[in-house]
Amino acid sequence: MIEVSDLHVVFGRGTALEKHALRGVDLAIPEGQFVTVIGSNGAGKSTILAALAGDVLPESGRVAIDGLDVTRWPTPRRAAYVARVFQDPLAGSCATLSIEENMALAAARGRRRGLGRALGHDRRDAFRDRIAELGLGLENRLGDRMGLLSGGQRQAVSLLMATLAGCKILLLDEHTAALDPATADFVLDLTRRFVADKRLTALMVTHSMRQALDYGDRTVMLHEGRIVLDVAGEERAGLDVPHLLALFARQRGGVELSDDDLLIG
């Protein structure tokens, strides 16, 4: 259970570039729900994720995970509850470490790290089994450096890494935006599979309205730091991209979408 209440985030307070990124966001995500988040650039999508992860500390408001107030916790402390996949395929792993070393790092997320061996035979075998699930043939390349993989492969492994240790919420920040369409579909299907298999609570930011409606069981639209649309269940099932676009245009005061940077896929 994730609870965000009256969250305000301001960047560069008191400077010429002051930006009120979140203006009072309330969002409660029950356990096991898969929420997709849409909105134009600067709407506050990534900021919500950053505030949940601890990268951004809010000006006011509260973030609670399973009733635990984590609002002021720094990122490493929250990591036991929060798993993430970044937009940039290079950001989620260590390029100069091997695949298995990256997996060992992720498997210890939220645990104390002692002086025991990071990679024993048992763990290697477990990693080999898990990475075989991806169907990318990486099970024979565990010792290869992460940097040798393609962007899509790295993103798939990052997703797998996010599921190696338990989490209360999985944060996906436009994690397919940097991939070609076929690879993006592959990673999205993988996402759906992992979320379903592990019954994860997930929050996925996307630029694509199509994806927002096709994946997950609830969609939230952000605009200028506020939630302007929150649909789930039958209401959501009846929605189509044109509806969403119309809603979106209304929020923007009737401005035509032609100059918009949305990817309508």
């Binding site: 490493p76 036991a80 993430r84 260590c94 470490l97 790290r113 061996r117």
Partner: protein, 299 residues
């Protein structure tokens, strides 16, 4: 090169292998360019020599030298992590401060311990000639350090430290307290360099406040030479490469200085070192550029 000169070069190479391992930790593992070592090397020598002169057990004196070096590393790490001073500048501040501290520790610029008992004293009676015994003793120390480091860096804690240097954002997202790892890594790195200083004082019979000048360049030279000669990814090999690099570097310098044809003298050492490191840094770029040119030409 005479046999004595050869083993002398090997010995000094082995002592500086500890510096190379320290520099490997800061520059390569943590990605923290740390110049503190120019101060922590003579600090280790000063602490060990002063304590030995005062009648302390040489092993205890060397252990305290390591602690002193670790503290120096912690100062640099604090300036950088806690007070957000640029790492290079933070380390220069500590290095400059250490010059005064080292003078205070010794009470004078130079302390001789040639007549005192050192860590090596008990072994002099074993019948091995001194010029072989000294490098052998340092080799054992270096081997122990390499084994400990290899174990440490492949542990869960050590792996987290490597992740801190490669991708700090990812490390934090995995629950790694990156600040803690910078503190521990810098303490370890400078502790090793101080141990090198303590060994240097005991094998050479003196500690000198100026002996730290250029330590960072020598350490870096050893790391780069090692990486060039033994470009393997496995961590244990990377550590061994530092040791081999340090010895090869010393032998090369010895060769350059003894070859009368070139006309170099001992005081040219720093120039030779700087030139060597510069060449080692430039060569990969030239190779890259040549590769690109070849690729363009092929199209």
């Amino acid at each position: 090169m005479s046999e004595i000169a050869f083993f002398g070069a090997v010995e000094i190479g082995l002592v500086y292998a500890l510096v190379a391992l320290g520099v490997f930790l800061s520059f390569r593992v943590l990605d923290f360019p740390d110049l503190t070592v120019d101060g922590s090397f003579p600090l280790g020598a000063a602490v060990a020599a002063t304590l030995i002169v005062a009648g302390s057990d040489p092993w205890l004196a060397s252990a305290l030298a390591i602690v002193a070096g670790a503290c120096a590393g912690l100062v640099t790490a604090t300036l950088n992590v806690r007070f957000r001073i640029l790492h290079l500048l933070a380390s220069i501040l500590t290095m400059i401060a250490l010059f005064s501290i080292n003078l205070r520790v010794m009470g004078r610029p130079n302390v001789a311990i040639i007549m005192q008992d050192t860590m090596l004293t008990p072994f002099y009676g074993l019948g091995l000639p001194d010029h072989l015994l000294r490098p052998l003793f340092v080799l054992v120390v270096v081997a122990v350090v390499v084994a400990l480091l290899a174990w440490f860096l492949t542990s869960e804690f050590g792996l987290a430290m490597r992740a801190t240097g490669v991708n700090a954002r990812m490390a934090r997202a995995q629950g790694i307290n990156t600040n803690l790892h910078i503190y521990v890594g810098m303490a370890l790195s400078n502790g090793l360099v101080a141990l090198a200083g303590a060994l240097f004082a005991q094998t050479n019979g003196f500690a000198d406040v100026t002996s730290g000048i250029g330590t960072i360049v020598v350490g870096l030279a050893a790391v780069i030479v090692g990486e060039t000669v033994l470009p393997l990814r496995a961590l244990a090999w990377a550590l061994i490469a530092c040791v081999i690099g340090s010895i090869l570097y010393r032998l090369a310098v010895q060769l350059a200085l003894t070859a009368d044809v070139i006309g170099l003298q001992a005081s040219d050492l720093n120039l030779v070192t700087a030139a060597l490191v510069a060449v080692a840094l430039i060569l990969p770029q030239l190779r890259l550029r040549a590769g690109k040119a070849a690729a363009r030409g092929g199209k």
